[in-house]
Symmetry: C2
């Protein structure tokens, strides 16, 4: 059993194994995933209310560890870039994919309304180093965005080298809401799965590791969270009457998600389904998915590209 | 004396009053500001090592409060925007200043090397909600940026409505390093103070509140922090031999800072000098400057723009 200030490993496999959506089976059945389940949660977490507190503390510890990995990621990118260190200004955001590039990580968060995307960012990203994060939220496309192909705004939002990107919604909206609400005709959205797979393959080939997460909540839980927003005046702003129209199309959205997961779960860019009725489990699971991604990089700090002893002499002088 | 879980107010005035650089006097003497001093620190902080712990805890509490204010700021912006809620994608970042706009806040951090910009962002922004932050770091301008006027990349990096922007370095580099290292001729940099003042006046007129902070460290402290980087292999990546060339021009940089502070300290966009040899004080002071900025807005949550009771009925149905 791990101490209170150590990161405990998931039980039964890595979170990437436990949460990967039916790899290779060609079938995705979301009804088979219980939104209240807690895959990988170790016995050390305890039971009842204790689990929540344990998981919150674990997320803080995981965040601190991720902060160190973020720094190594950035340090490598900086060294590779030379005097023109990577920055995060919009005029330099990830349009250029050419050449040998240091690694980037991109967490893609998708869910239906009330699924907890904002909360996940607040808790998980909030425990990391904000300086090296590149968070982008995608709303309904603007007129300018609509004049371009659906990936145009996505390409412009990719994290710069050395940064961790987080997408709050993404290009998947273009096969989800676009499909369910018939914003485009069927031929158009049907063609997008292959376009997305080619795009993500290209990102992976250019050192951008995607971590695609669907936060999976139940119909009952969504109802409760919507009612919470209607019962608390500090939450009215989160509510829109159109949320209930979307809720009325629950089955259509679940079907659209299942197809997106099935068609776009690739080895280059796998999909993970995180049971998300329990917020503390959700945050813990996402933090581990990120951690396992970073661990696979086996990062370290770059060696000095100057003569350390000589610089010490210069400084003392 | 305040409890351990309450935010304590600064003593002797607001931090904006205590740290404003010689308002109206027309003289800025940086040597008169002791980088180890702690203006506004209340007696409740205690002495010795206790102060550091106290200040760190206060920054966490201030951050949680700022998180709530960030949410109100965003909620107002969202309500004002209607269905096209403000997002943070680069293709929508703050280029459009026209019309009635909800408030934005922009923290501008400047300092010489090792002044603590990164650390401040990690601690202060790290205690806020990362979802509503828009952090941009400015390095040496790229070729594309150099083809435009010096404010081009700055305009593109302004926070979207409802967001809090943080600039790690800024347009002030164009009257600091550009001046000291003679990257442009004197006529060019001399003309920029007025251009900056007009630009910042325009931002203020368009609801962007600037909080301009110079982190002020001593020559001795800079030497110690540089040596730390040379003595710790996990910090080599932060070091560049050119740091010592800049250090050799310490007086030139101090003079350039003093002139920038004197020429560009306006009521529309005041400059604050934060003594920054003590990291815990630095973070505490910056958090309070942000807090006072938000408090002046007197924010609240927007009223519902729908019939709450009717929506509750619909949800129950």
């Amino acid at each position: 059993m791990s101490g209170v200030d150590e990161v405990a490993r998931p039980e039964g496999g890595s979170m990437q194994e436990l949460l990967r959506v039916a790899p290779g089976s060609g079938v995705v059945d979301l009804t088979a995933v219980d939104p209240r389940s807690t895959p990988g949660l170790p016995a050390a977490a305890g039971g009842g209310q204790r689990r929540r507190k344990w998981a919150r503390r674990q997320v803080e510890l995981l965040g601190a560890g991720l902060g160190r990995q973020q720094e190594m990621l950035y340090a490598s990118a900086k060294q590779a870039a030379g005097p023109q260190a990577p920055t995060s200004t919009p005029s330099q955001a990830g349009v250029d994919l050419a050449g040998e590039r240091p690694r980037r990580v991109l967490l893609v968060l998708q869910s239906i309304d009330c699924g907890g995307k904002d909360g996940t960012i607040k808790r998980v990203a909030g425990a990391m180093n904000p300086r090296r994060l590149h968070i982008c939220s995608f709303g309904p496309p603007t007129e300018e965005e609509l004049r371009h192909d659906f990936l145009w705004r996505i390409r412009r939002a990719l994290p710069p080298p050395g940064y961790v990107g987080i997408f709050n919604r993404s290009h998947y909206e273009d096969v989800l809401i676009a499909r369910v609400e018939s914003l485009v005709d069927e031929t158009t959205w049907r063609s997008r799965y292959d376009v997305i797979n080619a795009f993500e393959r290209d990102l992976a080939d250019n050192s951008i590791t995607l971590v695609k997460v669907m936060l999976h909540i139940s119909y009952v839980e969504q109802g409760e969270r919507l009612m919470e927003r209607l019962n608390d005046p500090t939450k009215y702003w989160k509510y829109s009457p159109s949320d209930l129209d979307s809720r009325a199309r629950w089955d259509d959205y679940q079907a659209a998600y299942a197809e997106a997961l099935r068609r776009c779960d690739t080895d280059a860019a796998p999909w993970f389904v995180v049971p998300a009725d329990r917020k503390w489990y959700r945050d813990w699971a996402v933090a581990h998915l990120l951690r396992e991604t970073f661990d696979a990089f086996d990062l370290g700090y770059p060696a000095a590209d100057f003569d350390v002893e000589r610089e010490r002499e210069r400084l003392r002088a």
